[in-house]
């Protein structure tokens, strides 16, 4: 019987993994002994880092979209459907339209994050974000015509996608208004839920003085519990009320509902062994990227590196060999510090990040990587 490998989700993790598996298991796939299937609930692959630039009018969401089929190895089957049920006891899957494989021998969940704006009353009506295509476009509409007032960047949910992006947005907004001669008319506040400006203490230590230098007001231990869109006030669990003219929020995130329903983890994040990425509550199930509850950032680089580990482990299982590949927590990230400067961090489970001094060359490296990302999705770099 054909070995069924089913990858749920065709984002960075799913695409890199499927292409890696096609490469490793090419002869078996060609012989019909193994089938690699990606199930995605739409036709496109979306590169989300483009969204950071959309509010500033620098990019459009379409720059981050390409047909998934074009990025996948020809040996990978692509099914456009949505997995609606996972039975980990019987190794069976259910689908919205019934198009995908019914059973699996190896299942990889790469279902990513979704925004749960409704968790904060008033946020849908009163807040903007750049963590979705529609959100980034709506924010672009507001930001391009925003010339004075109080802009708040509020990190409401954590964990969230791309932990650097809130800092990047604030640094970019500061520089953008400054260069346009509007900074004196725009007050910028950055809020963060814990006692420092970033979850990672090393990045927080680096970013705090930079925010102060840029005259960004900092509110820590700030957990919004409601937004009053009529009064334009952010109300926090700590009892403060912060008036705003433009609220840019990082909404609470959740993983996939189907993950939660399958008992694989809370809020749709799969509980996994941090090194093997195997689900702790089921056999022959892996999770990667945002979906895996590892404690490392929900970032594309993480999904990329994790995909290589999961591909090796599944290929080992198919070949009847012990799986030895493990994930070391490796994360890399470029961090924009303005409109034409960026920093860079690299860290893992053992080694904390040391942000590089901001430079133009790192900014251009970030933009260059964004362009070459499509080669990563194809499994080439």
């Amino acid at each position: 019987m054909t070995d069924e490998i089913v990858v749920v989700g065709g984002g960075t993790g799913g695409a890199v993994l499927a292409n890696d598996l096609a490469e490793r298991l090419g002869p078996e796939v060609d012989a019909g002994d193994v089938r690699v299937t990606v199930v995605n609930d739409g036709p496109d692959h979306v590169y989300k880092p483009v969204w950071l630039y959309v509010p500033f009018g620098l990019r459009e969401p379409s720059d981050g979209r390409r047909p998934l089929r074009d990025l996948l190895d020809r040996r990978v089957d692509l099914v456009e459907d949505r997995v609606t049920e996972i039975d980990t006891e019987r190794k069976r899957l259910g689908y919205r339209d019934g198009n995908g494989p019914r059973r699996y021998d190896h299942l990889v969940l790469a279902t990513g994050s979704r925004l749960d704006r409704e968790e904060i009353p008033g946020l849908v009506e009163g807040g903007h974000d750049y963590y979705s295509e529609a959100g980034a476009l709506a924010l672009q509409e507001e930001l391009l015509s925003f010339t004075e007032g109080h802009l708040i960047l509020s990190v409401i949910g954590s964990p969230h996608m791309c932990p650097a992006a809130p800092l990047e947005f604030v640094f970019m907004a500061d520089d953008w208004f400054r260069k346009r001669g509007l900074r004196e008319d725009v007050e910028i506040t950055y809020t963060y839920p814990i006692q420092r400006v970033h979850g990672n203490p090393h990045i927080a230590e680096w970013a705090h003085p930079l925010l102060e230098e840029r005259d960004v007001r900092i509110e820590t231990f700030c957990n919004p519990e409601a937004v009053d869109p009529d009064a334009e006030v952010l109300e926090t669990m700590e009892g403060t009320e912060i008036p705003y003219d433009l609220l840019v929020a990082i909404p609470p995130h959740r993983g996939s509902e189907v993950v939660e329903a399958a008992g694989l983890g809370d809020r749709g994040w799969v509980d996994v062994d941090k090194e093997t990425l195997a689900a702790t509550n089921a056999e022959a199930v892996y999770a990667l990227g945002d979906t895996a509850n590892t404690g490392v950032p929900k970032a594309g680089s993480v999904a990329h590196y994790e995909a290589g580990v999961v591909a090796q482990r599944i290929a080992s299982a198919v070949h009847g060999r012990p799986a030895t590949a493990t994930y070391d927590g490796k994360t890399v990230c470029f961090v924009e510090t303005g409109m034409d400067a960026a920093s860079y961090v690299e860290f893992d489970y053992q080694n904390p990040p040391t942000p590089k001094p901001p430079s133009k060359s790192l900014h251009w490296a970030k933009l260059a990587y964004n362009e070459s990302y499509w080669l990563t999705a194809r499994g080439l770099i």
Partner: protein, 78 residues
């Protein structure tokens, strides 16, 4: 042994900072005043993060229990 009763328990064992505090904050969202939430955490930093946040937000740390492999921190919503 657990000695203090809680209305709800948040198991954040295995999560690193700021995960446990964020899970506690999540449990407090929408909770009724008076609700006692027990946070299970093996992150040492929770021992300072949680009381600091409780003080900042006007909530009360009712007890901190060392369960051997983890801590059980009970916080009452004001």
């Amino acid at each position: 042994m657990s000695t203090t009763a809680a209305d709800t328990t948040v198991d954040a064992r295995g999560a690193t900072c700021p995960g446990p505090l964020m899970e506690l904050v999540g449990a407090f969202r929408g909770a009724e005043p008076g609700t006692v939430v027990a946070l299970l955490t093996d992150e040492e930093q929770s021992l300072t993060d949680v009381p600091e946040w409780a003080a900042e937000s006007g909530n009360e740390v009712v007890a901190t229990e060392d369960e051997g492999t983890h801590y059980r921190i009970l916080v009452r919503k004001s």
